[in-house]
Symmetry: C2
Subunit: 484 residues, 2 copies
């Protein structure tokens, strides 16, 4: 039985979201922090129900994976509560009237960020909690003061419905406006919502094809809207000669663990491992990869896609298979392939594009010049990693500008899977990592995507919003007359 | 003789911009501040040459207008120098490793903003200095550390070429990388540059039609890029009954001055004046508007467009002409039209869209409910203004949520023309005010458009960029472990 949202039900949800925009915008950050904490508490309390439901729909292990993911999700909601209490996110700025301003007398002008409006969030397949109903996009859009309409992912419909109901109940009990949050189902409803003039922003985590199609709809509207799509990433890892010499076997083992984690279904999966020619790690790599237990993929569609992509990759010129994983459902063991920087430089999308699933490609380079050439030609992504030794600083320093150009997060002697939620996190990068390279979808800065600035010129104090009043009643950090 | 940039010359400019990206990104903010000040000094020194050239190409008066606009432009460059020395724009954030982080052990992670890459700026017709070659988009993109390619406006080609030469000489003398800045001419070159994969961002000030066409190109590229278009705005002004009673004649006079300033060729021109029914200001309005001297428009194309738009507006049902301005070139006197909120509510684009030139529309409202209805239906824009009395706070407070929804800058007892450059300025708003409602094109926050975040995870101090090093060698304001 289809759970798709009907046109009538969608209209109700959109009208409710639009009606909730004004009361949501009028709520104080302190009050909204309370809403987020209430949602987090309710989800934590429902863990015993939600985790098994998620496991049954996604084939991901309940512990530690899904339990940990739910903990991450509720932590994230609470962290946005801290962002709201901190208040710096409002960017409150006060310039007093200044008759001596060099370009000519300056009026009193004050600037603060306000909610952008009802936001449509498309949930991801691979993180049924953290990038889904109450995930990062929802948390940051709600924190910013926006109603959220959540398009459920078909890979976990039941979980989405249940999580949505718990979120709605928690919000209602906490006194949030009706219509602040709702879940919709089905491609048709999602597209119709994205085209609706009441929706002011969109967010998405998923494939390049799906995300680009939605981005194209968002920017082709009569009134185009910001669309924050987190799409694909190959996540190169560069291993230096020093790291091979010092700890090659450990690197091989950690790499195998990282690219096969969650059956390789992470947007931060290391898809390319650059090794110096003559690295001598083939056997360590084979052993490490062959030792990984079989894991089921999220669903049949994704498994079919992986099998197809892996076939393309393995059949490409100059690519050899080091470990041929088990490729038929329901469970998969990881595959490892190899090529040279020279062959890679001449390769096409079959080799260069993200391969979502438990496979990765080793690329051997002859020297730093060749490595830099290949890195410069790489499609940008979310992360780039260096495995190196501190006494190779000069060599590494030569790589960093190229890596900075192609990634939003750089890692040193670590692995890109595992994305902490913190003040300094950056999860985004040049396209196709994201459709909005100036933003992040993880970490506290994610809230910036759902706010827009408004300046108030010449208003009497009594008519100004609290963040801009002279007495600074909320005790916000503000820049006043240029001084922080 | 056409000055259009040839395909060969464009390729040279694009290649040079791409080559300049790495050295520009590697420059310190302090050094870039020096470049901006050098450009400002050179332009100030060339005022006696540039101002008459601008006047001859645009028909704008040399003084105070163009002289003031050049002063604004060089002030703006110097203010971005202050932004660079202040350093907060880098958003440097440090999260130390924390094994007790509630969602699981946190690695050391540090975030800073880096330049987005070579930026293409389209100059505006109506501000030959401040929104043109060395205007706000150029200043903020250069300040952020990006090479800039400037597409000159055909309305002031010679000025653009001269200004560009002065900017390039000043940058070279200040030691900036070759290729950091260049000027290109012609629609074809502009479109080709916008489609070029080496261009990472675009900015534009101009008409809805032109800006939307370029936005569509930018977002339809294989790799879509951020496009910051500042397009159109009707800039409503609401006059309360109290303001009519207390100072109706003064309001009428100031309104006439504001909407006819610069021959009405400002994107912040007040296009709608909402007056309470029975305001009794007709004669004051007629007298004020009729007293405005004739002014030439920027060029024939713009004059023709204005004549056509004014014809549509004047011929729309329910619209009457209070003052019929002189409508044939070369000079124009302002026109004033009037309608009711009731008729306005049923009107189409002929009445509702921006009319670029010396004309404005008075709209009478019967009560606050009717006024709110009309405001809710207005197309968003850059500004919304209230002329009111402090003892009408309750009435005004009822209007502010609606005005906040449709504008990026709210004004009290002031006029929207005249946009100061300061820390709190906001020049932008929901579409069609801008294609990127989360941003501003004027004020120090304009730099944010041309930066993207990069996080560094687990790096030894010696490999981190200065803004993220433990000792904070640049003494930047930073958030460390969540604490500002």
């Amino acid at each position: 039985m289809s759970t798709d949202t009907t046109a009538t039900a969608l209209e109700v949800a959109l009208a409710a979201a639009a009606a909730a925009a004004a009361p949501a915008a009028a709520s104080t950050p302190e009050v909204r922090a309370g809403w987020l904490v209430a949602v987090a508490d309710a989800l934590d309390a429902a863990a015993a129900e939600l985790v098994p439901l998620a496991a049954s729909e996604t084939h991901l292990p309940a512990a530690p994976r899904l339990k940990g993911e739910l903990a991450r999700t509720t932590f994230q909601l609470r962290l946005f509560g801290e962002v709201l209490r901190d208040g710096a996110f409002l960017g409150a700025t006060v310039d007093h009237a200044d008759p001596g301003w060099p370009m000519g007398a300056r009026p009193d002008i004050r600037r603060v960020l306000v909610p952008i409006g009802p936001t449509l969030v498309f949930a991801a397949s691979n993180f049924p909690f953290a990038f889904s109903v109450a995930g990062g996009d929802t948390a940051s859009a709600l924190a910013a003061g926006n109603p959220v309409l959540l398009k459920a992912h078909p890979g976990h419909e039941e979980l989405s419905t249940r999580t949505g109901a718990i979120v709605r109940e928690a919000l209602a009990a906490a006194g949030a406006p009706a219509g602040l949050f709702d879940v919709i189902h089905g491609v048709e409803a999602g597209v119709a919502a994205l085209k609706d003039p009441r929706i002011a922003a969109g967010a998405f985590t998923g494939s390049v094809a799906g995300g680009r199609a939605l981005f194209d709809i968002a920017v082709s509207r009569p009134v185009p809207i910001p669309f924050y799509g987190e799409l694909g990433s190959v996540n190169p890892v560069v291993v230096t000669p020093g790291a091979v010499a010092a700890r090659g076997e450990a690197v091989a083992k950690a790499y195998a663990g990282s690219f096969s984690l969650g059956a390789g279904q992470f947007c931060t999966k290391p898809g390319l491992l650059f090794l110096p020619e003559g690295h001598g790690l083939q056997e360590h790599l084979r052993a490490a990869v062959s030792g990984i237990a079989a894991q089921p993929m999220l669903n049949e569609r994704i498994a079919d896609g992986f099998t197809r992509r892996l076939g393309e990759l393995g059949g490409a010129p100059g690519v050899e298979t080091l470990v041929a994983g088990h490729l038929d459902g329901p469970v998969f063991t990881p595959s490892l392939l190899a090529t040279t920087a020279k062959a890679f430089a001449q390769s096409d999308a079959a080799v260069r594009d993200e391969c979502f699933g438990p496979a990765s490609l080793v690329v051997t380079y002859t020297d730093q010049a060749e490595l830099l050439d290949v890195l410069d030609g790489l499609e940008p992504g979310l992360t780039a990693t260096v495995q190196g030794e501190e006494d190779e600083a000069e060599l590494v320093r030569g790589l960093l500008p190229a890596l900075t150009r192609i990634a939003g997060r750089l890692l040193w002697n670590d692995w890109p899977t595992g994305v902490t939620v913190s003040w300094a996190q950056q999860h985004g990068g040049p396209y196709p990592a994201t459709t909005a390279p100036t933003t992040t979808s993880v970490g506290t800065a994610a809230i910036e995507r759902f706010l827009r600035p408004v300046a108030w010129q010449g208003f009497p104090d009594a008519l100004l919003p609290e963040p801009l009043q002279e007495a600074n009643p909320w005790e916000l950090p503000r820049r006043v007359d240029g001084v922080r």
